[in-house]
Amino acid sequence: MRKMIFTLLGVGALLGTSYAAQANSVLILEGYQAQAQMDDPAFREFSAERGQEFFSQNHTGGKPQTPSCTTCHTADPSGAGQTRAGKTIAPLAISKTPDRYSDFEKVEKWFRRNCTSVLGRTCSAREKGDFITFMKTR
């Protein structure tokens, strides 16, 4: 009986953290949604397709070493990437790295850095939202 309770508690804790991560990522997306609507009143919803295109295409304006997200993250978001220095990067796909988009500060840090490196500018809320929406489908 006690064992069962502990097992249930354990499962509950696991589910809890994963729910918390999901809840956070939902909050983060809602934030980007609100921002995107402020930027463009005609904006309706994020699109995984647009996110995929943004992720895989070659951009101009950034640093020559990093023309695309796929330079480091590889074309497959569910696989591990590698930084230019050689360190392994955990997969971007939520199915592989569930807590990927749950820490707003961290999410913003990497969009700030990587958008400068790849696009030479900051990313819009719509681009960020499309990106995360795409990663949720992977």
């Binding site: 640093k63 930084t83 220095a85 050689g86 360190k87 850095r113 400068t116």
Partner: protein, 372 residues
């Protein structure tokens, strides 16, 4: 009473080299061979085996020094024929093509042992200082400075040459004695007995068992000392923000790898960090900056701090230092782009102790499929 009197009498065919002494001798042969091979012929990353041979030598030598006072008759230093008169007489007779047979060591042989043992003691000591000062490992890591380690390496190399010469003389002398003068020295060191020799004292089994017990105790003692004196893995103080923020895209390089000035320049240009934006929030950057002003190449006394960290480069890159390039010039450029390595700055792909700032030669392990 009568029995004891009888035992004190010189006895023919008795054991002259007790078992612990013979064990010491042949163990020494094996361990010195391993140490010499790994020291002279093999790559730096065989250093681990060399060091283990060194610890084994330390145990064997400590044992021999004690056994020189409490071993059986011919093992005791006190009974070595070292007096000047005896040595001169022995050399004179050798020059005339004769060699008087001694039951234990002959005078030249005895001096040879003294020279061999002292050289070996000094070799082990200097080796421990190199291991501690230069490689920041082992029981003397916290005691020996980098400078002492470096100086000890010179001493260690000279002593190793001396030892090789001494071994050549020792083996040459034994061969001459054995085959030209027909004194069965080699057989005596194997069986412990010398035919026809009238031996002083007596070797008791219990005494030999005591000798082996003593050796085991010394091994335990040395092992305890080596373990107890082991310093912390990470050299110096760590900072969680530094490790986290600077370890995102690459190894959080040990602070000893650049000077305070170089670190500062790097932190003030993170917006373009070797072709990437690695910018930090002002708060985090200030914290890391403070940490690196306190902890940098000038505050560490390690090999990497001296050889790479303190050498400033225009690019701020450590891979642009001459020492780095000299140390890696055996590798083709393609090696660094190997999937398991990725880039020149992924130190820990091969240096397993890179994060700790140690970079010991013994901790180099090439990933599978990577060749020199």
């Amino acid at each position: 009473m009568a029995l004891i009197e009888q035992n004190k009498m010189p006895k023919e065919g008795a054991v002259i080299w007790d078992f612990p002494l013979r064990f010491f001798h042949w163990a020494m042969v094996g361990v010195v061979a391993i140490a010499a091979l790994t020291g002279y012929l093999f790559e730096g990353w065989w250093l681990n085996i060399h060091v283990y041979a060194g610890y084994a030598l330390l145990c064997l030598l400590l044992f021999r020094l004690v056994w020189g006072f409490m071993g059986s008759y011919y093992s005791r230093f006190h009974h070595f024929p070292l007096a000047r008169g005896e040595v001169i007489a022995h050399i004179k007779s050798l020059l005339k093509g004769r060699s008087k047979e001694y039951v234990g060591h002959n005078p030249v042989g005895a001096w040879m042992i003294v020279i061999l043992l002292s050289t070996l003691v000094l070799l082990v000591l200097s080796g421990l200082f190199v291991w501690g000062g230069q490689e920041n490992s082992g029981p003397l890591a916290s005691v020996a400075s980098y400078g002492i380690g470096k100086a000890s390496e010179e001493v260690h190399e000279v002593l190793a040459g001396l030892l090789m010469a001494a071994i050549a003389f020792h083996v040459g002398g034994v061969l001459v004695e054995n085959f030209i003068f027909k004194h069965p020295l080699i057989k005596a060191m194997i069986t412990g007995r010398k035919e026809g020799a009238i031996a002083q004292g007596q070797v008791r089994v219990a005494h030999s068992v005591l000798g082996i017990g003593l050796f085991v105790a010394i091994v335990c003692g040395v092992a305890l000392w080596v373990n107890a004196a082991q310093g912390p893995r990470f050299i110096g103080a760590q900072n969680a923000t530094y490790t986290q923020e600077c370890g995102d895209c690459h190894l959080a390089y040990h602070p000893s790898m650049r000077t305070g000035d170089s670190w500062q320049k790097m932190l003030l240009s993170l917006e373009n960090h070797y072709g990437e934006d690695a910018s930090l929030t002002p708060k985090k950057r200030a914290e890391i900056l403070a940490y690196l002003q306190e902890n940098n190449a000038t505050t560490f006394d390690t090999k990497v701090a001296h050889k790479i960290g303190r050498i400033e480069t225009a690019s701020l890159r450590m891979t642009d230092t001459r020492y780095w390039q000299k140390k890696h010039d055996d590798f083709k450029p393609a090696t660094f782009t190997h999937a398991e390595i990725g880039s020149k700055v992924n130190c820990n792909a091969c240096h397993q102790d890179a994060a700790d700032g140690r970079f010991s030669e013994s901790a180099i392990k090439l990933p599978k499929g990577v060749k020199k």
